[in-house]
């Protein structure tokens, strides 16, 4: 079933790739360039899944996660962090912020679809 997913990343290439992969799987995808932009979009338009980069200008992925969790509409929405850092301390910060899961860049399309499928049962 088609889900609404937002991809938040300051790298347009990354967003495009994520969007392409997810659209290919039949999802509806929104894009945002940083945490602030994502919050603005999401306040008006709830989604089923948030995929966010961690290190971004203006507002990073961790802060975005924290702020989203403070909104009732996003209390239960899965949030996946896209990170190049697989070091456990960083992961714990993500967990503490309220993220649901993580995926390490670079990842394949299959891997991305796998984690999406995992948090978004059809």
């Amino acid at each position: 079933m088609s889900k609404k997913i937002i991809t938040v990343d300051d790298a347009a290439t990354m967003r495009k790739m994520v969007a392409f992969t997810l659209k290919g799987a039949g999802h509806e995808v929104f894009e945002a360039g940083d945490g602030v932009e994502a919050l603005t979009v999401l306040r008006q338009r709830p989604v089923d899944l948030v995929l966010t980069d961690v290190n971004m200008p203006n507002m990073d992925g961790l802060e975005l996660t924290r702020q989203l969790r403070a909104l009732p509409a996003f209390a239960r929405t899965p949030i996946i962090l896209l990170t190049t850092e697989s070091d456990p301390a960083k992961k714990m910060l993500g967990r503490a912020a309220g993220a649901t899961g993580w995926i390490v860049k670079p990842f394949s399309q299959e891997q991305l679809l796998a984690i999406v499928a995992k948090v978004l049962p059809a």
Partner: protein, 768 residues
């Protein structure tokens, strides 16, 4: 990877654009960091560029870039976390990293792969710099999961409490299955050092890259263009509808509307092409750092007006000249720290760049507080390189001497440094700037510094132009080079044009204006005059143009109108013709060629190479003593006497072969325009010693008319025509001489022409 090829290509293009911008930012921030100008986010911004590049490259299967970025990222993360402090060596290495990554991106653009260039030394250096005491370089884990959910992890008691609800909300069913499939590419570690032998990276120089060809346009700007296009369609529909019905009032309204919309649309589209000059300047901190390090100089770069906008074609055109000037300023301008201290200046030199709009043009000033230009050295170099003669050099004004640095081939660098003095000189800079309708002005104070001022038009795409007709064809002449229009009628037309050594000239307010006939230059027939009154001899249209700072007149059949024209490029089959700058489409749909005024002037030989003529800056002269100026004809008599007469006294300048000279009594004469012209050899009739020069087959004659009679003054050589204020230094009662004055830095005798004529006649009658 399952991404299809088209998408991969598109993503690579995005990556190129994004990464070039990122790396430029990376350089800038690093340099700011080195200068101690850091904001709270600086280090993170620097880190993020490499971090993002690594991530994106990895996803696109660009292992080489990914690996290189990864090694850099390790060092940067230590810096970001405060575990290391930056050193100049580190900055240099990190700048080398951005260069290496740029190289790979260029290879990627040219070949579609990120290549196998060898950067092992750089990578080793990046690793070596990571000597953080606390944490050893993170050991690469043998196998790491690629993704996971926090629920799958070992519970971490302390953190679990933070978001129990959230963690509990995601009910996971298959924890084990999603662990990284073992065939997933393990990041970075698989890419062992490439074989050193295959190190040559493919770099396509000269080809413009994606980053250079793409521009970012504000969405609101595009929306505006879109709206205007909508309006335009509406207006067209109205005109089409009303043309069939021929409702004149409605047509008028529609035409007005169309006019307004088109103008606005034109402006809007032009705006989308505007870019801040900072896009070019962004690279300068890096260049300044590299060049000053190389030369062991200390330079502080100050920039103002980065947001000043210019059309991107102009930005492209000034990029290289500006870079050259900046390099030059550091190399030739700013002194070594020791030298600066010894003359009481701050150890650190100042290089400032300033851009601002002024009257439809953009001014760019490049100023340094260095040693200034040593005029004696410039002159000596110019003489040594045979660009000017020692004689010319002696009488150059300060300003003229300064302008020598724009002569082709002149390099003042005593030693050829790596930085400048390698052939590409200021002449190229000047040519490039003039090519886009700009001008360059140089000021220098010995010991104080040098300022270069560049004026350039805002845009090249749409320019005001004068439309003319010659040989039945229309041509557009860019208005920037237009000085004035002169129309000669009747007698004026028949007699106004004179021949000076075979070249047509026109006297424009006392100055001889060299003329070029467009139809002759283009080897096309002159147009058929429209009616008898316009017969060729009766009307002559002269367009006074400026090329290379010198005026010349272009004679055309007809002057039509001024129009805003859209400049379009010519195909490569026509690129070699320097007389054309492009083409445009006229209102009737036909194509008209746009003249390249400088190219045309060179083609017509109306502006000779700078080196062949003394450098005259008419503007500079005009500012001084405008009221007392006099236009003088300068000539020499014998080998070394320089003389002058007011130009107004010279009716014509002629050349006669010696064989045409006849004698009547003691007087030499020639037949001239159906009359007998007595010749007066100036050397024979003036007081003072004249060293005779080599006899010549051709006599140079200044024709002088007095009370209906003409005389030919025979001189050795015509030198120049100048417009100067003249103060007679030495009043003299000598025969034929009014006195002497300093003209062009040389002592020049002012000839008493009537006195000379009387003396010659007295001499002739005595002899007879």
């Amino acid at each position: 990877m399952a991404i299809n090829e088209t998408l991969q290509q598109e993503l690579v293009k995005d990556l190129l654009l994004e990464s070039h911008e990122g790396l430029d930012r990376f350089d800038r921030e690093l340099l700011a960091l080195e200068q101690g100008q850091t904001g709270p986010d600086s280090m993170n911004n620097i880190f993020r560029v490499i971090h993002t590049l690594k991530g994106t490259a990895g996803c696109l299967g660009l292992g080489h870039i990914e690996h290189t970025a990864h090694v850099g990222e390790d060092l940067l993360s230590l810096l970001r976390d405060g575990k290391l402090h930056s050193t100049p060596e580190m900055i240099t290495t990190l700048l080398a990293l951005s260069d290496a990554l740029r190289g790979m991106l260029r290879t990627l653009e040219a070949t579609g792969t990120d290549g196998t260039s060898d950067h092992s030394a750089l990578l080793a250096k990046l690793v070596q710099l990571q000597v953080a005491p606390a944490i050893a370089a993170a050991p690469a884990p043998v196998e790491k999961p690629v993704f996971g959910l926090f629920d799958d992890d070992e519970p971490v008691v302390a953190v679990l409490a933070v978001a129990p609800e959230v963690a509990g909300a995601v009910v996971m069913t298959a924890p084990a299955s999603v662990q990284a499939s073992s065939d997933a590419p393990t990041p970075t570690t698989l890419h062992a050092a490439p074989p050193v032998s295959a190190s040559a990276s493919v770099e396509v120089a000269g080809k413009s890259s994606v980053a250079d060809n793409a521009i970012r346009v504000d969405i609101s700007q595009l929306d505006k263009v879109m709206n205007l296009v909508g309006e335009l369609v509406l207006a067209r529909n109205q005109i089409v509808a009303n043309t069939t019905q021929f409702d004149q009032a409605a047509l008028m309204t529609a035409a007005q509307r169309l006019n307004i919309i088109t103008t606005e649309l034109q402006e809007s589209v032009m705006k989308t092409r505007m870019q801040p000059i900072g896009n070019v300047w962004g690279k300068f901190p890096r260049i300044v750092r590299d060049v000053s390090h190389e030369l062991n100089k200390k330079v502080r770069l100050v920039m103002a007006g980065q947001t000043t906008e210019l059309d991107r074609t102009i930005i492209e055109a000034i990029k290289d000249p500006l870079t050259h000037i900046v390099r030059n300023s550091i190399d030739h301008g700013i002194e070594s720290p020791a030298k600066r201290l010894s003359v009481g200046k701050a150890e650190e030199g100042l290089l400032s760049l300033r851009a601002y709009h002024e009257g439809g043009q953009v001014n760019i000033e490049i100023m340094d507080d260095g040693g200034g230009i040593n005029l004696d050295r410039v002159k000596a170099k110019a003489v040594a390189q045979h660009l000017i003669t020692a004689e010319q050099s002696a009488r150059l004004t300060e300003r003229e001497a300064l302008n020598l640095i724009f002569l082709p081939g002149l390099s003042t660098a005593d030693k050829i440094t790596n930085v400048s003095g390698r052939g590409v000189g200021m002449d190229v800079v000047k040519t490039n700037i003039e090519k886009i309708g700009g001008s360059i002005d140089l000021q220098s104070q010995p010991g104080q510094g040098t300022t270069l001022k560049i004026k350039i038009p805002l845009t090249l795409a749409i320019i005001p132009a004068l439309i003319v007709t010659s040989g039945g064809d229309r041509y557009a002449i860019p208005q920037v080079s237009l000085l004035e229009l002169v129309r000669l009628e009747g007698t004026q037309a028949r007699k106004g044009i004179e021949q000076l050594y075979g070249a047509a000239v026109y006297r424009l307010r006392g100055h001889l204006l060299p003329l070029a006939y467009l139809n002759q230059q283009f080897k096309v027939k002159a147009g058929v005059p429209k009616n008898a009154a316009q017969a060729m001899d009766d009307v002559i249209n002269i367009i006074v143009l400026q090329a290379d700072g010198r005026p010349f007149g272009l004679v055309v059949d007809e002057i039509n109108d001024t129009e805003e024209i859209v400049v379009k490029p010519l195909g490569k089959q026509l690129k070699g013709i320097s007389s054309f700058a492009g083409a445009t489409i006229m209102g009737d749909g036909r194509v008209a060629l746009i003249l390249d005024v400088v190219g045309l002037a060179q083609h017509a030989n109306v502006v000779t190479e700078t080196r062949d003529r003394p450098v005259i800056d008419t503007k500079a002269r005009a500012q001084s003593d405008a009221d007392q100026r006099q236009t003088l004809l300068l000539f020499s008599v014998g080998k070394d006497r320089r003389m002058a007469i007011p130009l107004a006294l010279a009716a014509r300048l002629e050349e006669f072969p010696v064989s045409r000279v006849e004698r009547t009594g003691a007087t030499e004469v020639v037949q001239y325009r159906g009359q007998i012209l007595p010749l007066i050899r100036v050397a024979d009739h003036v007081a003072g010693r004249v060293t005779p020069d080599e006899p010549s087959d051709i006599l140079q004659v200044v024709v002088y008319a007095e009370q209906g009679r003409s005389y030919g003054l025979v001189v050795s050589q015509i030198n120049d025509i100048v417009n100067e204020s003249v103060t007679i230094k030495r009043a003299s009662a000598s025969q034929g001489i009014l006195g002497s004055a300093v003209v062009q830095d040389r002592v020049t005798d002012l000839l008493d022409v009537p006195g000379l004529v009387r003396a010659a006649e007295a001499h002739a009658s005595l002899a007879a």
